[in-house]
Symmetry: C2
Subunit: 236 residues, 2 copies
Amino acid sequence: MENIGKKLPEQVADSIINYIHAHELQIGDRLPNEYELAKELAVGRSTIREAVRSLASRNVLEVKQGAGTFISKKKGIADDPLGFGLVKDTFKLTKDLFEIRYILEPRVAALAAANATEEEIQAIDHVRIAIEEAMDTDTERQLNLDVEFHSLIAKASNNVAMHHLIPVINESMFLYSDSYTNQRVKEETILLHREIVAAIKKHDSDAAFDAMTVHMAYNRMNLNHFEQAKTKQSHL
Amino acid sequence: MENIGKKLPEQVADSIINYIHAHELQIGDRLPNEYELAKELAVGRSTIREAVRSLASRNVLEVKQGAGTFISKKKGIADDPLGFGLVKDTFKLTKDLFEIRYILEPRVAALAAANATEEEIQAIDHVRIAIEEAMDTDTERQLNLDVEFHSLIAKASNNVAMHHLIPVINESMFLYSDSYTNQRVKEETILLHREIVAAIKKHDSDAAFDAMTVHMAYNRMNLNHFEQAKTKQSHL
Protein backbone atom coordinates (compact mmCIF):
# COMPACT_ATOMS: atom_id res chain seq x y z
CA MET A 1 0.00 0.00 0.00
CA GLU A 2 2.78 2.41 -0.94
CA ASN A 3 1.58 5.86 -1.92
CA ILE A 4 4.65 6.76 -3.95
CA GLY A 5 3.78 7.37 -7.58
CA LYS A 6 0.06 6.92 -7.00
CA LYS A 7 -2.46 9.43 -8.32
CA LEU A 8 -4.81 11.20 -5.92
CA PRO A 9 -7.91 9.07 -6.63
CA GLU A 10 -5.84 5.91 -6.04
CA GLN A 11 -4.54 7.33 -2.78
CA VAL A 12 -8.11 8.17 -1.78
CA ALA A 13 -9.18 4.62 -2.71
CA ASP A 14 -6.52 3.35 -0.27
CA SER A 15 -7.84 5.79 2.36
CA ILE A 16 -11.38 4.46 1.89
CA ILE A 17 -10.06 0.90 2.44
CA ASN A 18 -8.35 2.12 5.61
CA TYR A 19 -11.64 3.73 6.65
CA ILE A 20 -13.42 0.39 6.09
CA HIS A 21 -10.83 -1.39 8.27
CA ALA A 22 -10.82 1.27 10.99
CA HIS A 23 -14.62 1.19 11.27
CA GLU A 24 -14.69 -2.59 10.86
CA LEU A 25 -17.33 -2.37 8.14
CA GLN A 26 -18.57 -5.79 7.02
CA ILE A 27 -20.06 -7.14 3.78
CA GLY A 28 -23.38 -5.38 3.13
CA ASP A 29 -22.59 -2.41 5.42
CA ARG A 30 -23.28 1.04 4.00
CA LEU A 31 -20.46 3.52 3.36
CA PRO A 32 -20.99 7.16 4.40
CA ASN A 33 -22.23 9.28 1.49
CA GLU A 34 -19.96 11.25 -0.86
CA TYR A 35 -20.37 14.47 1.12
CA GLU A 36 -19.45 12.89 4.47
CA LEU A 37 -16.48 10.98 2.97
CA ALA A 38 -15.16 14.14 1.26
CA LYS A 39 -15.25 15.89 4.64
CA GLU A 40 -13.72 12.94 6.52
CA LEU A 41 -10.85 12.47 4.04
CA ALA A 42 -10.44 16.20 3.26
CA VAL A 43 -10.66 15.88 -0.53
CA GLY A 44 -13.13 17.04 -3.17
CA ARG A 45 -16.34 15.16 -3.94
CA SER A 46 -15.28 14.47 -7.53
CA THR A 47 -12.14 12.70 -6.22
CA ILE A 48 -14.31 10.63 -3.86
CA ARG A 49 -16.59 9.78 -6.77
CA GLU A 50 -13.68 8.60 -8.90
CA ALA A 51 -12.19 6.56 -6.03
CA VAL A 52 -15.56 4.93 -5.31
CA ARG A 53 -15.99 4.09 -9.00
CA SER A 54 -12.55 2.47 -9.04
CA LEU A 55 -13.31 0.46 -5.86
CA ALA A 56 -16.63 -0.62 -7.40
CA SER A 57 -14.82 -1.84 -10.53
CA ARG A 58 -12.50 -3.78 -8.20
CA ASN A 59 -15.56 -5.38 -6.52
CA VAL A 60 -14.65 -3.83 -3.16
CA LEU A 61 -17.76 -1.64 -3.15
CA GLU A 62 -21.17 -1.99 -4.72
CA VAL A 63 -23.07 1.14 -5.77
CA LYS A 64 -26.84 0.68 -5.61
CA GLN A 65 -28.61 3.52 -7.42
CA GLY A 66 -30.69 5.56 -4.98
CA ALA A 67 -29.76 3.38 -1.99
CA GLY A 68 -26.09 4.20 -1.47
CA THR A 69 -22.70 2.52 -1.59
CA PHE A 70 -22.12 -0.77 0.20
CA ILE A 71 -19.28 -3.19 1.01
CA SER A 72 -19.50 -5.76 -1.80
CA LYS A 73 -20.02 -9.42 -1.00
CA LYS A 74 -17.39 -10.15 -3.68
CA LYS A 75 -14.66 -9.34 -1.11
CA GLY A 76 -12.67 -7.31 -3.65
CA ILE A 77 -12.16 -10.38 -5.83
CA ALA A 78 -12.25 -9.37 -9.51
CA ASP A 79 -14.42 -11.11 -12.09
CA ASP A 80 -12.23 -13.79 -13.67
CA PRO A 81 -9.42 -12.50 -11.44
CA LEU A 82 -6.69 -14.81 -12.70
CA GLY A 83 -7.39 -14.25 -16.40
CA PHE A 84 -8.46 -17.85 -17.05
CA GLY A 85 -10.99 -16.60 -19.65
CA LEU A 86 -7.97 -15.94 -21.86
CA VAL A 87 -6.79 -19.55 -21.81
CA LYS A 88 -7.72 -21.23 -25.08
CA ASP A 89 -7.56 -24.92 -24.18
CA THR A 90 -10.29 -25.13 -21.53
CA PHE A 91 -9.91 -28.88 -21.07
CA LYS A 92 -6.24 -28.54 -20.15
CA LEU A 93 -7.08 -25.55 -17.95
CA THR A 94 -9.65 -27.63 -16.07
CA LYS A 95 -7.14 -30.47 -15.57
CA ASP A 96 -4.52 -27.96 -14.39
CA LEU A 97 -6.99 -26.40 -11.95
CA PHE A 98 -7.78 -29.90 -10.70
CA GLU A 99 -4.10 -30.39 -10.00
CA ILE A 100 -4.21 -27.30 -7.76
CA ARG A 101 -7.40 -28.42 -6.00
CA TYR A 102 -5.95 -31.90 -5.53
CA ILE A 103 -2.98 -30.41 -3.68
CA LEU A 104 -4.80 -27.70 -1.71
CA GLU A 105 -8.22 -29.04 -0.76
CA PRO A 106 -7.17 -31.97 1.49
CA ARG A 107 -5.03 -29.57 3.54
CA VAL A 108 -7.94 -27.08 3.61
CA ALA A 109 -10.26 -29.82 4.92
CA ALA A 110 -7.74 -30.77 7.61
CA LEU A 111 -7.47 -27.13 8.70
CA ALA A 112 -11.27 -26.83 8.70
CA ALA A 113 -11.51 -29.88 10.99
CA ALA A 114 -9.05 -28.17 13.34
CA ASN A 115 -10.59 -24.69 13.26
CA ALA A 116 -14.28 -24.77 12.28
CA THR A 117 -16.76 -23.16 14.68
CA GLU A 118 -20.12 -24.79 15.40
CA GLU A 119 -21.79 -22.15 13.25
CA GLU A 120 -19.47 -22.87 10.31
CA ILE A 121 -20.03 -26.63 10.63
CA GLN A 122 -23.80 -26.08 10.54
CA ALA A 123 -23.50 -23.93 7.40
CA ILE A 124 -21.37 -26.58 5.66
CA ASP A 125 -23.81 -29.35 6.60
CA HIS A 126 -26.74 -27.23 5.44
CA VAL A 127 -25.21 -26.89 1.96
CA ARG A 128 -24.30 -30.61 1.90
CA ILE A 129 -27.98 -31.48 2.37
CA ALA A 130 -29.09 -28.93 -0.24
CA ILE A 131 -26.67 -30.53 -2.75
CA GLU A 132 -28.20 -33.96 -2.15
CA GLU A 133 -31.67 -32.51 -2.72
CA ALA A 134 -30.70 -30.68 -5.92
CA MET A 135 -28.76 -33.59 -7.39
CA ASP A 136 -31.63 -35.22 -9.27
CA THR A 137 -33.67 -32.13 -10.00
CA ASP A 138 -31.53 -29.09 -10.73
CA THR A 139 -27.96 -29.61 -12.01
CA GLU A 140 -27.12 -25.90 -12.21
CA ARG A 141 -28.19 -25.33 -8.60
CA GLN A 142 -26.19 -28.39 -7.59
CA LEU A 143 -23.05 -27.04 -9.24
CA ASN A 144 -23.39 -23.61 -7.61
CA LEU A 145 -23.95 -25.27 -4.25
CA ASP A 146 -20.89 -27.42 -4.80
CA VAL A 147 -18.72 -24.29 -5.19
CA GLU A 148 -20.34 -22.96 -2.00
CA PHE A 149 -19.64 -26.23 -0.14
CA HIS A 150 -15.92 -26.04 -0.86
CA SER A 151 -15.82 -22.28 -0.25
CA LEU A 152 -17.41 -22.70 3.19
CA ILE A 153 -14.84 -25.35 4.09
CA ALA A 154 -12.10 -22.92 2.97
CA LYS A 155 -13.66 -20.22 5.16
CA ALA A 156 -13.73 -22.62 8.12
CA SER A 157 -10.04 -23.43 7.57
CA ASN A 158 -9.34 -19.98 9.01
CA ASN A 159 -6.72 -19.42 6.27
CA VAL A 160 -7.80 -16.10 4.76
CA ALA A 161 -5.80 -16.68 1.56
CA MET A 162 -7.51 -20.06 0.98
CA HIS A 163 -10.87 -18.39 1.63
CA HIS A 164 -10.19 -15.92 -1.20
CA LEU A 165 -8.59 -18.45 -3.54
CA ILE A 166 -10.68 -21.65 -3.38
CA PRO A 167 -13.91 -20.10 -4.78
CA VAL A 168 -11.95 -18.61 -7.72
CA ILE A 169 -10.36 -21.97 -8.56
CA ASN A 170 -13.70 -23.77 -8.29
CA GLU A 171 -15.65 -21.23 -10.35
CA SER A 172 -13.02 -21.27 -13.09
CA MET A 173 -13.37 -24.96 -13.87
CA PHE A 174 -15.20 -25.82 -17.03
CA LEU A 175 -17.64 -28.57 -16.32
CA TYR A 176 -17.85 -31.67 -18.39
CA SER A 177 -21.44 -32.66 -17.89
CA ASP A 178 -20.80 -36.37 -18.17
CA SER A 179 -19.13 -36.28 -14.76
CA TYR A 180 -22.28 -34.85 -13.21
CA THR A 181 -24.98 -36.93 -14.79
CA ASN A 182 -23.36 -40.33 -14.22
CA GLN A 183 -25.30 -42.11 -11.45
CA ARG A 184 -22.23 -43.69 -9.82
CA VAL A 185 -20.44 -40.34 -9.65
CA LYS A 186 -23.48 -38.80 -7.97
CA GLU A 187 -23.65 -41.52 -5.34
CA GLU A 188 -19.92 -41.29 -4.70
CA THR A 189 -20.18 -37.49 -4.31
CA ILE A 190 -22.98 -37.84 -1.74
CA LEU A 191 -21.04 -40.40 0.30
CA LEU A 192 -17.75 -38.47 0.22
CA HIS A 193 -19.39 -35.15 1.12
CA ARG A 194 -20.91 -36.93 4.12
CA GLU A 195 -17.50 -38.33 5.11
CA ILE A 196 -15.90 -34.88 4.83
CA VAL A 197 -18.56 -33.19 6.95
CA ALA A 198 -18.52 -36.00 9.55
CA ALA A 199 -14.73 -35.64 9.92
CA ILE A 200 -14.96 -31.85 10.30
CA LYS A 201 -17.73 -32.30 12.90
CA LYS A 202 -15.48 -34.63 14.90
CA HIS A 203 -12.56 -32.17 14.46
CA ASP A 204 -10.61 -35.12 13.04
CA SER A 205 -8.05 -33.49 10.68
CA ASP A 206 -6.57 -36.74 9.36
CA ALA A 207 -9.99 -38.14 8.48
CA ALA A 208 -10.95 -34.86 6.78
CA PHE A 209 -7.69 -34.88 4.83
CA ASP A 210 -8.28 -38.48 3.68
CA ALA A 211 -11.94 -37.99 2.74
CA MET A 212 -11.11 -34.89 0.69
CA THR A 213 -8.20 -36.68 -0.99
CA VAL A 214 -10.52 -39.51 -2.06
CA HIS A 215 -13.09 -36.96 -3.28
CA MET A 216 -10.49 -35.12 -5.39
CA ALA A 217 -8.89 -38.32 -6.72
CA TYR A 218 -12.28 -39.75 -7.65
CA ASN A 219 -13.27 -36.59 -9.52
CA ARG A 220 -9.99 -36.39 -11.42
CA MET A 221 -10.20 -40.07 -12.32
CA ASN A 222 -13.60 -39.34 -13.88
CA LEU A 223 -12.26 -36.39 -15.82
CA ASN A 224 -9.56 -38.66 -17.23
CA HIS A 225 -12.13 -41.32 -18.16
CA PHE A 226 -14.09 -38.60 -19.94
CA GLU A 227 -10.95 -37.56 -21.85
CA GLN A 228 -10.15 -41.16 -22.85
CA ALA A 229 -13.71 -41.72 -24.07
CA LYS A 230 -13.50 -38.52 -26.10
CA THR A 231 -10.15 -39.50 -27.65
CA LYS A 232 -11.47 -42.98 -28.47
CA GLN A 233 -14.52 -41.49 -30.16
CA SER A 234 -12.41 -39.18 -32.30
CA HIS A 235 -10.45 -42.23 -33.55
CA LEU A 236 -13.57 -44.09 -34.71
CA MET B 1 -18.46 -17.74 -21.89
CA GLU B 2 -22.28 -17.81 -21.83
CA ASN B 3 -23.90 -14.94 -23.69
CA ILE B 4 -27.24 -15.22 -21.92
CA GLY B 5 -28.03 -12.10 -19.93
CA LYS B 6 -24.88 -10.31 -21.12
CA LYS B 7 -25.03 -6.78 -22.47
CA LEU B 8 -23.78 -6.03 -26.00
CA PRO B 9 -20.37 -4.56 -25.02
CA GLU B 10 -19.72 -7.64 -22.84
CA GLN B 11 -20.65 -9.92 -25.73
CA VAL B 12 -18.32 -7.92 -27.99
CA ALA B 13 -15.56 -8.22 -25.36
CA ASP B 14 -16.00 -12.02 -25.54
CA SER B 15 -15.86 -11.79 -29.35
CA ILE B 16 -12.59 -9.86 -29.16
CA ILE B 17 -11.15 -12.59 -26.90
CA ASN B 18 -12.28 -15.18 -29.47
CA TYR B 19 -10.62 -13.07 -32.17
CA ILE B 20 -7.37 -13.06 -30.13
CA HIS B 21 -7.52 -16.86 -29.84
CA ALA B 22 -8.44 -17.44 -33.49
CA HIS B 23 -5.56 -15.25 -34.70
CA GLU B 24 -3.24 -16.61 -32.01
CA LEU B 25 -2.23 -13.11 -30.94
CA GLN B 26 0.51 -13.12 -28.30
CA ILE B 27 1.57 -10.69 -25.56
CA GLY B 28 2.68 -7.41 -27.18
CA ASP B 29 0.85 -8.06 -30.47
CA ARG B 30 -1.24 -5.21 -31.86
CA LEU B 31 -5.01 -5.49 -32.16
CA PRO B 32 -6.64 -4.21 -35.40
CA ASN B 33 -7.91 -0.65 -35.02
CA GLU B 34 -11.44 0.31 -33.94
CA TYR B 35 -12.63 0.71 -37.51
CA GLU B 36 -11.36 -2.71 -38.64
CA LEU B 37 -12.72 -4.45 -35.54
CA ALA B 38 -16.14 -2.80 -35.94
CA LYS B 39 -16.26 -4.13 -39.50
CA GLU B 40 -14.97 -7.60 -38.53
CA LEU B 41 -17.44 -8.04 -35.65
CA ALA B 42 -20.30 -6.16 -37.35
CA VAL B 43 -21.01 -3.74 -34.52
CA GLY B 44 -20.69 0.03 -34.04
CA ARG B 45 -17.40 1.71 -33.21
CA SER B 46 -18.73 3.03 -29.89
CA THR B 47 -19.51 -0.55 -28.84
CA ILE B 48 -15.97 -1.60 -29.81
CA ARG B 49 -14.61 1.33 -27.81
CA GLU B 50 -16.56 0.31 -24.72
CA ALA B 51 -15.54 -3.36 -25.07
CA VAL B 52 -11.87 -2.41 -25.49
CA ARG B 53 -12.05 -0.15 -22.42
CA SER B 54 -13.53 -3.01 -20.39
CA LEU B 55 -10.82 -5.45 -21.59
CA ALA B 56 -8.16 -2.86 -20.75
CA SER B 57 -9.56 -2.51 -17.23
CA ARG B 58 -9.36 -6.33 -16.98
CA ASN B 59 -5.67 -6.16 -18.05
CA VAL B 60 -6.37 -8.20 -21.19
CA LEU B 61 -5.52 -5.28 -23.47
CA GLU B 62 -3.27 -2.28 -23.08
CA VAL B 63 -4.18 0.97 -24.85
CA LYS B 64 -1.12 3.04 -25.75
CA GLN B 65 -2.13 6.55 -26.75
CA GLY B 66 -1.25 7.19 -30.38
CA ALA B 67 0.30 3.74 -30.90
CA GLY B 68 -2.74 1.44 -30.76
CA THR B 69 -4.16 -1.36 -28.63
CA PHE B 70 -1.99 -4.32 -27.65
CA ILE B 71 -2.28 -7.67 -25.87
CA SER B 72 -1.26 -6.87 -22.29
CA LYS B 73 1.63 -8.66 -20.66
CA LYS B 74 -0.53 -8.91 -17.53
CA LYS B 75 -2.29 -11.94 -19.11
CA GLY B 76 -5.73 -10.66 -18.02
CA ILE B 77 -4.76 -10.94 -14.38
CA ALA B 78 -6.37 -8.09 -12.42
CA ASP B 79 -4.43 -5.82 -10.08
CA ASP B 80 -4.77 -7.33 -6.58
CA PRO B 81 -6.98 -9.97 -8.23
CA LEU B 82 -7.85 -11.91 -5.09
CA GLY B 83 -8.75 -8.85 -3.00
CA PHE B 84 -5.89 -9.32 -0.52
CA GLY B 85 -5.60 -5.51 -0.18
CA LEU B 86 -8.82 -5.72 1.82
CA VAL B 87 -7.37 -8.07 4.44
CA LYS B 88 -6.57 -6.11 7.58
CA ASP B 89 -4.09 -8.40 9.36
CA THR B 90 -1.23 -8.45 6.82
CA PHE B 91 1.01 -10.61 9.02
CA LYS B 92 -1.62 -13.37 9.20
CA LEU B 93 -2.27 -12.95 5.46
CA THR B 94 1.43 -13.44 4.72
CA LYS B 95 1.55 -16.57 6.89
CA ASP B 96 -1.58 -17.89 5.19
CA LEU B 97 -0.09 -17.23 1.75
CA PHE B 98 3.04 -19.05 2.88
CA GLU B 99 0.90 -22.04 3.74
CA ILE B 100 -0.35 -22.07 0.13
CA ARG B 101 3.16 -21.68 -1.31
CA TYR B 102 4.44 -24.40 1.01
CA ILE B 103 1.87 -26.80 -0.42
CA LEU B 104 2.05 -25.76 -4.08
CA GLU B 105 5.63 -24.79 -4.86
CA PRO B 106 7.35 -28.18 -4.28
CA ARG B 107 4.86 -29.79 -6.68
CA VAL B 108 5.41 -26.93 -9.16
CA ALA B 109 9.19 -27.48 -8.98
CA ALA B 110 8.73 -31.23 -9.57
CA LEU B 111 6.54 -30.51 -12.63
CA ALA B 112 9.11 -27.99 -13.88
CA ALA B 113 11.84 -30.63 -13.60
CA ALA B 114 9.68 -32.95 -15.70
CA ASN B 115 8.55 -30.42 -18.32
CA ALA B 116 11.00 -27.48 -18.60
CA THR B 117 12.44 -26.76 -22.03
CA GLU B 118 16.11 -25.82 -22.47
CA GLU B 119 15.04 -22.23 -23.09
CA GLU B 120 12.98 -22.12 -19.89
CA ILE B 121 15.85 -23.60 -17.85
CA GLN B 122 18.20 -20.92 -19.21
CA ALA B 123 15.75 -18.17 -18.28
CA ILE B 124 15.38 -19.54 -14.72
CA ASP B 125 19.15 -19.80 -14.30
CA HIS B 126 19.62 -16.29 -15.66
CA VAL B 127 17.30 -14.88 -12.96
CA ARG B 128 18.99 -17.01 -10.27
CA ILE B 129 22.34 -15.39 -11.10
CA ALA B 130 20.78 -11.90 -11.18
CA ILE B 131 19.33 -12.52 -7.68
CA GLU B 132 22.76 -13.42 -6.34
CA GLU B 133 24.20 -10.23 -7.85
CA ALA B 134 21.42 -7.99 -6.48
CA MET B 135 21.45 -9.53 -3.01
CA ASP B 136 24.01 -7.22 -1.41
CA THR B 137 23.32 -4.13 -3.45
CA ASP B 138 19.65 -3.69 -4.30
CA THR B 139 17.05 -5.34 -2.06
CA GLU B 140 14.04 -4.13 -4.05
CA ARG B 141 15.47 -5.52 -7.29
CA GLN B 142 16.25 -8.77 -5.49
CA LEU B 143 12.66 -9.10 -4.29
CA ASN B 144 11.21 -8.46 -7.75
CA LEU B 145 13.61 -10.99 -9.24
CA ASP B 146 12.59 -13.50 -6.59
CA VAL B 147 8.95 -13.24 -7.72
CA GLU B 148 10.18 -13.71 -11.29
CA PHE B 149 12.27 -16.75 -10.32
CA HIS B 150 9.26 -18.56 -8.88
CA SER B 151 6.99 -17.38 -11.73
CA LEU B 152 9.38 -18.78 -14.35
CA ILE B 153 9.45 -22.13 -12.54
CA ALA B 154 5.62 -22.08 -12.55
CA LYS B 155 5.65 -21.32 -16.28
CA ALA B 156 8.06 -24.22 -16.86
CA SER B 157 5.75 -26.55 -14.91
CA ASN B 158 3.47 -26.41 -17.97
CA ASN B 159 0.46 -26.08 -15.64
CA VAL B 160 -1.29 -23.00 -17.00
CA ALA B 161 -3.27 -22.44 -13.79
CA MET B 162 -0.08 -22.45 -11.69
CA HIS B 163 1.48 -20.03 -14.16
CA HIS B 164 -1.36 -17.57 -13.55
CA LEU B 165 -1.59 -18.17 -9.80
CA ILE B 166 1.98 -18.35 -8.45
CA PRO B 167 2.95 -14.73 -9.35
CA VAL B 168 -0.24 -13.44 -7.68
CA ILE B 169 0.49 -15.36 -4.47
CA ASN B 170 4.12 -14.20 -4.45
CA GLU B 171 3.33 -10.55 -5.17
CA SER B 172 0.69 -10.47 -2.44
CA MET B 173 3.06 -11.35 0.37
CA PHE B 174 4.02 -8.53 2.67
CA LEU B 175 7.73 -8.64 3.24
CA TYR B 176 9.24 -8.55 6.65
CA SER B 177 12.60 -7.03 5.93
CA ASP B 178 14.40 -8.88 8.70
CA SER B 179 14.11 -12.07 6.65
CA TYR B 180 15.93 -10.43 3.76
CA THR B 181 18.76 -8.61 5.48
CA ASN B 182 19.85 -11.48 7.72
CA GLN B 183 23.16 -12.82 6.35
CA ARG B 184 22.42 -16.48 7.10
CA VAL B 185 19.06 -16.26 5.32
CA LYS B 186 20.75 -14.76 2.26
CA GLU B 187 23.35 -17.53 2.08
CA GLU B 188 20.68 -20.19 2.54
CA THR B 189 18.59 -18.63 -0.25
CA ILE B 190 21.55 -18.66 -2.65
CA LEU B 191 22.34 -22.32 -1.91
CA LEU B 192 18.73 -23.49 -2.18
CA HIS B 193 18.06 -21.60 -5.41
CA ARG B 194 21.15 -23.34 -6.83
CA GLU B 195 19.85 -26.74 -5.67
CA ILE B 196 16.45 -26.07 -7.23
CA VAL B 197 17.89 -25.03 -10.60
CA ALA B 198 20.36 -27.94 -10.61
CA ALA B 199 17.51 -30.41 -10.04
CA ILE B 200 15.39 -28.87 -12.81
CA LYS B 201 18.40 -28.99 -15.16
CA LYS B 202 18.82 -32.70 -14.45
CA HIS B 203 15.05 -33.20 -14.90
CA ASP B 204 15.07 -34.78 -11.45
CA SER B 205 11.55 -34.19 -10.09
CA ASP B 206 12.15 -35.68 -6.66
CA ALA B 207 15.25 -33.56 -6.08
CA ALA B 208 13.41 -30.44 -7.25
CA PHE B 209 10.50 -31.26 -4.91
CA ASP B 210 12.86 -31.71 -1.97
CA ALA B 211 14.95 -28.58 -2.63
CA MET B 212 11.82 -26.44 -2.95
CA THR B 213 10.36 -27.98 0.23
CA VAL B 214 13.52 -27.06 2.16
CA HIS B 215 13.42 -23.53 0.66
CA MET B 216 9.79 -23.03 1.71
CA ALA B 217 10.27 -24.57 5.15
CA TYR B 218 13.35 -22.45 5.79
CA ASN B 219 11.55 -19.25 4.81
CA ARG B 220 8.52 -20.02 6.94
CA MET B 221 10.74 -20.90 9.90
CA ASN B 222 12.29 -17.44 9.58
CA LEU B 223 8.91 -15.76 9.44
CA ASN B 224 7.99 -17.56 12.66
CA HIS B 225 11.24 -16.46 14.31
CA PHE B 226 10.44 -12.91 13.27
CA GLU B 227 6.97 -13.22 14.85
CA GLN B 228 8.38 -14.65 18.10
CA ALA B 229 10.96 -11.87 18.34
CA LYS B 230 8.20 -9.30 17.78
CA THR B 231 5.98 -10.86 20.47
CA LYS B 232 8.89 -11.01 22.91
CA GLN B 233 9.69 -7.36 22.30
CA SER B 234 6.10 -6.30 22.93
CA HIS B 235 6.26 -8.06 26.32
CA LEU B 236 9.35 -6.15 27.49
